[in-house]
Every structure is written in C-alpha cells, then in structure tokens.
C-alpha cells in the first residue's frame, strides 16, 4: 500500500507502543518471578531464583497443567467435530433457520461466562445429577466445548466459503467415494483452518476460570483454578508468576508451530 513516509513511521511507532503496552505487564510477571518479595513489592529489592526452584517442585502446578491440557484437548476435539459439522451444514446446504445458527453458535461466547457457568451448573446438577453423573472433568470439557465451538466454526466456514465445492466435485468426478474425498481432499484443505480454530479453542479453554469454577467437579483443578487458589496466598503467589512466565514462553511453541504448519492463515485466525 502506498503510504507517505511519515504515515508509515507513525504506524510503526504506534505498533511499537502497542506491543510495549502488551508486553510490559508480561515482562513484569517475568521479573516478579525473580522478585524476592512475596507480594512483588516494587521495585524489587532482592532477586532470587527460589520461586523457580519451588515451582519446579510444585506438584500441584504440574498436575493442574496436565488437567488443563486434558480439558483443553477434550474441549478442542469436541469443538472441532461440532464446529466442522455445523460449518459444513451451513456452507453446503440451504435450510430453514440457517441464519439463526450462526447466532446460536456465538451465543455461548458472547454471553458472560458467569451466565454460561451458572446455567450449565444448575442444568448439569438437575439433569446429569439425576442420572448419577456428577461433575468432574467431563462437565468442564462440556462447558468449555460449548463456547469453543464458535472458533472452529468460523474458521472452517470461512475456509469452505473460499474453497467452494469444486475440488470435492473434482474428486468425486475422478471416482473417489465420499470418504475418500474427505480424506484426500476436504480434510487437507481445511486442515489449516482446523488448526487455527483449534488453537484458539484450546487457548480459550486453557485460560478459562469462570466457566470452570462453576462446572468443575471435585478433584478437578485446572491451571487457572490452581492459579486462582494460589495467587491469593502470599506464600504461593510468587510461584504463580513463575508458572505464568513459563506459560508465556512455552506458548510460543504451539503458536509458532501452528503458523508453520498452517501457513499464514493460521495467524490470521478468526477468533
């Protein structure tokens, strides 16, 4: 795009300021993970690595991380399946109420988490409870999947709109059965959209506190819940900073990988 030099510079500076705004608090988290003070007094008067050592030994954080990853994967898988199905239905068919579907799908993400949380909680108790299925990991996954569907749906829908049905027609034309067409053509074509949508779904689930609070059963401590429980205890709060710092660093891996695998589209992922 043709922009004057000063305009380019202004934008570049703005981007720099924006990134600073985004990263200064994260940097603070990193610094505070070395802050000798338990409640992160500023400026830090002594630096220590003991929180990192303590975090390393902290079983609860590790367990919570595993729980979160499992919940995130579960929710993501469900979101991938359901979101893809709806996207196909909406893109490939005309049916009564099609316009309402997109509204229905965004609803769980658009309504405040606390509403989703208490609705699912009371429904779960009155329906599933009667069936003898208590809340646990499964209810967390259900809760998360409900608001994650939209990310997959939107990514896949956009991809389907862009690719059209020609390639699938071509595949059938060349003799491929519907399942072969899906395996050889459709899936590879929507793979990067699935990756982008899935990544965002996972990220949403991974960081969700409110819905989790209301849907988690006994013994299910996801990382945000663990953080919630520990951040408010001065003995533990510094360890939380370590965990967060580690998360930030680790998160570059899936994001980067997804970008590599999916090409630029994954980056432009539709939230």
């Amino acid at each position: 795009m043709t922009l004057s030099g000063p305009a380019r510079w202004a934008l570049r500076v703005f981007m720099g300021v924006g990134l600073t705004f985004i990263y200064v608090p994260l940097l603070l988290v990193l610094v505070n993970s070395f802050n000798g003070d338990r409640t992160f007094a500023w400026p830090p008067h002594d630096l220590t690595t003991r929180w990192w050592a303590a975090a390393w030994e902290n079983d609860g954080a590790r367990q919570a991380l595993i729980t979160s990853v499992r919940a995130g994967l579960g929710a993501t898988v469900i979101a991938l399946v359901l979101g893809t199905m709806v996207a196909f239905a909406v893109q490939r068919f005309a049916f009564f109420g099609r316009d309402t579907v997109s509204l229905l799908i965004v609803l769980p993400i658009a309504l405040p988490g606390i509403v989703t949380g208490i609705a699912l909680d009371s429904a779960w108790r009155s329906v599933m409870g009667d069936l003898g299925i208590g809340k646990g990991m499964f209810s967390v996954i259900v809760g998360h999947a409900t608001f994650c569907v939209v990310t997959v749906y939107n990514n896949v829908l956009a991809r389907l709109r862009r690719t059209g049905t020609n390639l699938e027609d071509a595949s059938a034309d060349l003799g491929a059965s519907p399942s072969q067409t899906f395996r050889f053509v459709t899936f590879p074509l929507i793979r990067s959209a699935l990756l982008a949508g899935g990544l965002l779904a996972f990220a949403l689930s991974f960081d969700e506190i409110i819905v989790t609070t209301f849907t988690a059963g006994p013994g299910v401590t996801t990382l945000p819940i663990w953080i919630f429980n520990n951040l408010f205890r001065p003995n533990q709060a510094p360890i939380v900073n370590v965990v967060a710092a580690v998360l930030i660093v680790l998160s570059v891996i899936p994001v980067w990988l997804a970008q590599r695998l999916a090409g630029p589209e994954a980056g432009a992922s539709r939230t």
Binding site: D37, R38, T39, F40, A41, W42, A54, E57, N58, D59, G60, A61, Q63, R125, G129, G134, K135, T213, A216, G217, P218, G219, T221, I225, F228, N229, N230, L231, F232, R233, P234, N235, Q236, A237
Partner: protein, 381 residues
Amino acid sequence: GCGGGGDSGGTGSGPGGMPVPKVDKLTALGAGEGAVNVVSWAGYVEDGSTDKSVDWVTPFEKETGCQVNNKVAATSDEMVTLMKTGDYDVVSASGDASLRLIYGGDVAPVNTDLVANYKDIFDGLKNKTWNSVDGVAYGVPHGRGANLLMYRTDTVKPAPTSWGAVFDPNSPYRGKITAYDSPIYIADAALYLMKTQPDLGIKNPYALDDKQFQASVDLLKEQNKMIGEYWSDYTKEVQAFKSGNSVIGTSWQVIANLTKADKTPVEAILPSEGATGWSDTWMISSKAKHPNCGYLWMNHIVSPKANAQVAEWFGEAPANKLSCGETTDKNHCTTFHAEDESYFDQVWYWTTPLARCVDGRTDVTCKDYSAWTQAWTTIKG
C-alpha cells in the same frame, strides 16, 4: 409463634417455625470407601503439592486408604453452593455458611462418639450457635480467629484502639481504608453500633431487625465513601498495605503476620469493641457418598498433629487443646490466642443471619442472609 428450644435429633422444627430437615446421623463407623470429596478453604487440605513439607493428607491417605479429592472454595457462599451439589462429603464451613447448610438439609448431624479426637477440642468451640441446633452437634470445630483491625504504624498515628477508626467520616485516611468484601461485613458495623449506639438494642451483630439493619447499612454506606478498596483475598491485602494503597482496615492475624514478614510496618489489634471472627467447622454432607471416609477425615483433621499443622500453615488458632504442643513455632498458640478464652469472649463468630433471629428474639423477624447480600450490593453502589 416463635418457640425456644426444640427437640433433639435434628427432627422437628426450629424456632420461628423454621424446620430443620430430618437427617439421620451415622451410628457406626464402617470401612472406608476409598475416597473422600472435600470442600475447603485454601490451605486447609495440603498434600505436599504446594510445599513439600506441608502435607497432612498423604499420611491420612496411607493410613485409611481414603483418597482425598479437594476442592478449594473462595467464599462461604461458594462452599454452600458446592455442598448443595451433593458431590462432596465434607466441608470446612465457616459460621456464615454452617447454618445455611444445616437448615438446607445439606449436612447431617455428627455422631461425635465416632470422632475420637472430639474430646480434646476446646469447649469454647463446641455446641455453638453456628455449629449446632438445639444441642445437636452438626460438625467438628477446626480452628478459629478474629477479624482484627490492622494499620500501618508509620502513617496511622495515633495508634487506633477502636473500630471508630474505620467508621469516622472525618478520617484522615479517607481513600485508604479497606474492608472485607462480603455481606457478612455488615456484622462489623452492627458490632460497632452495638457498642456505640446502645439505644438500637443490638444484642448480637448477626441478629438484626429492620431498624438495626438499616442503621448498620447506613453506616457502611457512609464508610463506602472512604474505602479505597475492599479485600477478599490476602495477597491483595498484604500487597495493598505494603504499597500504601490501604493503611487501615479489617484483617486476619495471618495476614498481619505475612505483612510484617514482608517488612511492612503494620500492627493488628483487637479493638475495644471486640470483633467479629470465624470458627470453622468440619461438616458432613447429608448425601455423602463416602460417609466413613468423611468421618475418618474429620477425626484426622482435628487430631493434635494435623490440627497443629493446619493452624500454623493457615495462620489461626487450633481447635484441639493438644495441638499447642505440636506446633513447630512454640509461640504459635500464644500469637493466635488459642488458649485465651477471654480473648475469644470478645469475638462474635460468623453466623448465618436468619429470618429467625439468632439472638433468640421472637417478637421480630430478622434480616436473612439474602437480604444482607442485596444490602451489600447497595452499600458498594
């Protein structure tokens, strides 16, 4: 009409026609079910995962074969909600939750004969209004503490002695006053009014009729103008005192200790009016799927050693007399006034306000907790 005592056994109805759902208590201890689901305050159930040296769960699991699944609740309200699900066996309920659980039929009376360590618990904690109904015990006391007045010694001069320091509309600390963020805090105002405005006739800060309630709420609305922030978790309060965002307000002993440990000049006192406070009680669910493990847990958590560990880790006074000999810090019981009954005589433990006045008045209806909750919303504005 409003009757006095009812009959025992958790049957019949409470005063004011309030029925206590009939729930049977366990009569004999059987074999453990292999697991127990626990709702607790953060720090009450530690299995070494937060700090390797802090672990009273693993020995319990080894000994009884009951696997402990712990769910930390942030507030009393959350505890009530969680217990209503029926997914949990035991809960460390504070007094502002316990009655709700009892009257909700969510917890069962406790057969104290099946809890061997019950006999060593301070008498001052047994059969209180918040953990029993009509002499029937609904739980095993866990520990206690007072809501203290904490202040920065370098800025708050002279040192306060009265809650008036946080209610005085002309306070020089306007904007730097903090208060506990919960409807139960209305009791702190009521306590203050009980001492400063005797004509209101407040006898128990948890039993407020319309007029008394309104006076308390009005006081808090005035106070709100001076509040910097309310606190509900203790990292937040420690940090606020350290940075100077808050210089005076309610606190817990443990918070005071932590703040001091971080070299912030603070002091916490029990003001002349006395204070509100809490005494937590382990209760067992009326729908417990693991009642035997639940009883085993209740017995374990008030055992001298475990109770001492909890009290030290969390920062409160233990419930078991023998625990004072088990603490690593030999001064622990002194610091937390564990054996000082006269100290705790000035403490009004959190009790769920009910429509049936908990002070025994029968000629008026008191404000129940949901009214307190809605009022709290109004106070914060």
